[in-house]
């Protein structure tokens, strides 16, 4: 197949280069990518983009230089969420990927300690959290069911991986 004639190429390239994590829920573009993975990889590689496939079967571009500053905000939001779920005695993976989260119930601005972490990451109020959800939705990490609730999508596994990576980086507190 001629690489420039790959299905959904224009739409895929546009989404991937903007940081979108493409998973099964994305329908046609995911199927095109999954079926022609190697051709897409070759094409993107020649354009200087690194296409990665996660073990949970979703795709994304790894930024080469000049990363989006939303990475920090998303990570801090997620660390707080993980700690909160664990404290409530709920099964982490099950809760994250099978339940809807009411935005009003989220703990991020309900505890002083969490407010401090959020401020540190540049999120001072509910508006900034709202912006974050918009960005996370565009990146494919979550889906907003309505204005009050959201649900995490499979690519949020990358954020769970990040928890592990952070400890690997810091090293000193691993067991």
């Amino acid at each position: 197949m001629i690489l420039s004639e790959l299905p959904e190429l224009k739409e895929l390239f546009k989404k991937l280069r903007s940081g979108r994590h493409v998973s099964g829920e994305d329908g046609a573009i995911y199927r095109a990518l999954a079926e022609h993975e190697e051709e897409f990889r070759t094409l993107f590689d020649s354009l200087g983009f690194v296409l990665l496939r996660h073990r949970r079967d979703f795709f994304y571009f790894r930024g080469g230089s000049g990363y989006s500053s939303f990475g920090t905000r998303i990570a801090v939001f997620f660390f707080i969420l993980v700690e909160w779920i664990a404290e409530r005695g709920e099964r982490l993976e099950e809760t994250l990927f099978t339940q809807s989260f009411l935005i009003a119930d989220l703990p991020h601005f309900q505890r002083e300690r969490y407010r401090k972490y959020m401020a540190e990451a540049g999120m001072e109020d509910a508006d900034s959290l709202h912006n974050l959800f918009l960005r996370m939705e565009r990146l494919g990490f979550l889906r907003r069911e309505n204005e009050h609730s959201l649900r995490f999508r499979t690519p949020a596994y990358r954020l769970l991986d990040l928890c592990m990576e952070v400890l690997g980086e810091s090293g000193e507190e691993s067991s």
């Binding site: 993980v82 300690r113 540190e120 928890c163």
Partner: protein, 406 residues
């Protein structure tokens, strides 16, 4: 001591809800509390609460808490019985199981001695001990299996909403304290297998030695059958326990680690600031934007203009004649001219006069070449002299080049 077991079971059958209630009360009850509990379970035809309390004591169902005369708790044997009936077995530690194995080893030596001296009575005694220990061992191993399944179900349902770390601690304790040592114990290369094999061989030799005593042979065979059943049950229970808790252990381990890692990351943000984690580069979300691209309309305009372009006459290039004089001076030619012109009193001035068009850099290059390979003898003047070369003021001690004979 219960004088009449039948009375015990009749009472237990009639007042089972009361016994069950008492079983779940782990703290001692005062007289008043105990009577309150009894009152909740009696019906109009029942005897008085005081009488029932008296029967509880006489049937050894309750006893006083050690050191507290007026507080009551359920007795250990009844608690064990209820635990068994309610399938709420507790875990028996590997140390206790090891104790049974030691006891089996000791009974084995006793049996060996009895067989050596053809002592039928001693052998019968030893077989009884062996069978009793084997059954206890089997029962405790089976209880362990049930206790592990119960714990696993409790952890899965997590009705008490325990944090992931606490649940992992529980399963890790099961793993470290019971499963690992138990695996060691039933490992075919380990001492338990060797002991049970030798015991089985000894029991078999007993059947041969006392072959003419049918009753004794039956006892030997019975003990061998118990031993075989116990070994099969222990292995089966262990492997089933392993299948039950291994996936749960792994799940809880990962969940507990994730929760801990998230907390560690947050603590680090607290201590060292969010930049210390370099989360942007770890997430590596592409930030790709197009810059300096021309619009399609603009490009179309350019191409349209180019398509109608017709080149005019080529412009005449002028004014290069003077520049063409300046250029590279061949050192060999310069040295040859210099040889003919010797003697000279200032090489730099001579070069400037005789190499028209040479730049100052070129003159200095030639000056260096002559200095390194002079065609005659070189002498430097004692006074500095200044001259203008290509509008540059050059100050030097004049280098004279003389013929060799001068």
């Amino acid at each position: 001591m219960i004088s009449d077991p039948q009375s015990f079971f009749r009472f237990a059958a009639r007042f089972y809800p009361l016994l069950s209630d008492l079983y779940y009360r782990t703290e001692g009850l005062s007289d008043g509390d105990l009577l309150d509990v009894i009152r909740r379970h009696v019906v109009p035809d029942d005897p008085s609460c005081e009488h029932i309390m008296d029967r509880l004591v006489k049937l050894c169902i309750i006893e006083t808490v050690p050191g507290e005369a007026s507080r009551w708790e359920i007795t250990h044997p009844v608690r064990s019985l209820l635990r068994f009936l309610l399938r709420e077995q507790r875990l028996t530690s590997v140390e206790v199981i090891q104790g049974y194995l030691d006891a089996l080893g000791s009974s084995r030596s006793e049996l060996e001695k009895s067989l050596g001296s053809a002592d039928r009575s001693g052998a019968l005694h030893a077989i009884g001990d062996i069978s009793e220990t084997v059954e206890r061992l089997r029962q405790d191993a089976c209880d362990n299996h049930s206790a592990i399944l119960n714990t696993s179900m409790e952890l899965k349902s997590n009705r008490e909403h325990l944090p992931a770390a606490e649940r992992f601690e529980t399963i890790n304790r099961l793993w470290v304290k019971y499963m690992y040592p138990m695996r060691d114990l039933i490992d075919v290369d380990k001492s338990m297998e060797a002991l049970l094999d030798s015991l089985d061989r000894l029991l078999y030799s007993g059947t041969l030695q006392f072959g003419r005593h049918a009753e004794l042979v039956r006892e030997f065979n019975g003990s061998r059958a118990r031993l075989l059943r116990m070994r099969r049950n222990i292995a089966a229970d262990f492997h089933e326990s392993l299948r039950e808790i291994e996936p749960l252990y792994e799940t809880l381990r990962v969940e507990s680690e994730l929760a801990r890692f998230a907390s560690v990351a947050l603590r680090r943000i607290d201590r060292e600031g969010v930049r210390s984690l370099d989360l942007d580069s770890m997430m590596a979300l592409p930030s790709w934007r197009t810059e300096g691209l021309l619009s399609d309309v603009f490009l179309s305009g350019c191409l349209h203009a180019l398509s109608g372009y017709e080149p005019g006459e080529a412009p005449v290039v002028t004014g290069l004649e003077v520049e063409s004089v300046r250029g590279y001076s061949d050192p060999a030619e310069v040295l040859s001219s210099l040889s003919l012109a010797l003697p000279i009193d200032d090489l730099l001035v001579w070069l400037d006069s005789n190499c028209p068009g040479a730049s100052l850099e070129d003159l200095l290059r030639l000056y260096g070449i002559v200095y390194c390979s002079p065609p005659g003898r070189v002498e430097f003047g004692s006074l500095s002299r200044e001259c203008m070369i290509h509008e540059v003021s050059v100050s030097s001690y004049p280098m004279a080049v003389l013929s060799e004979g001068e």
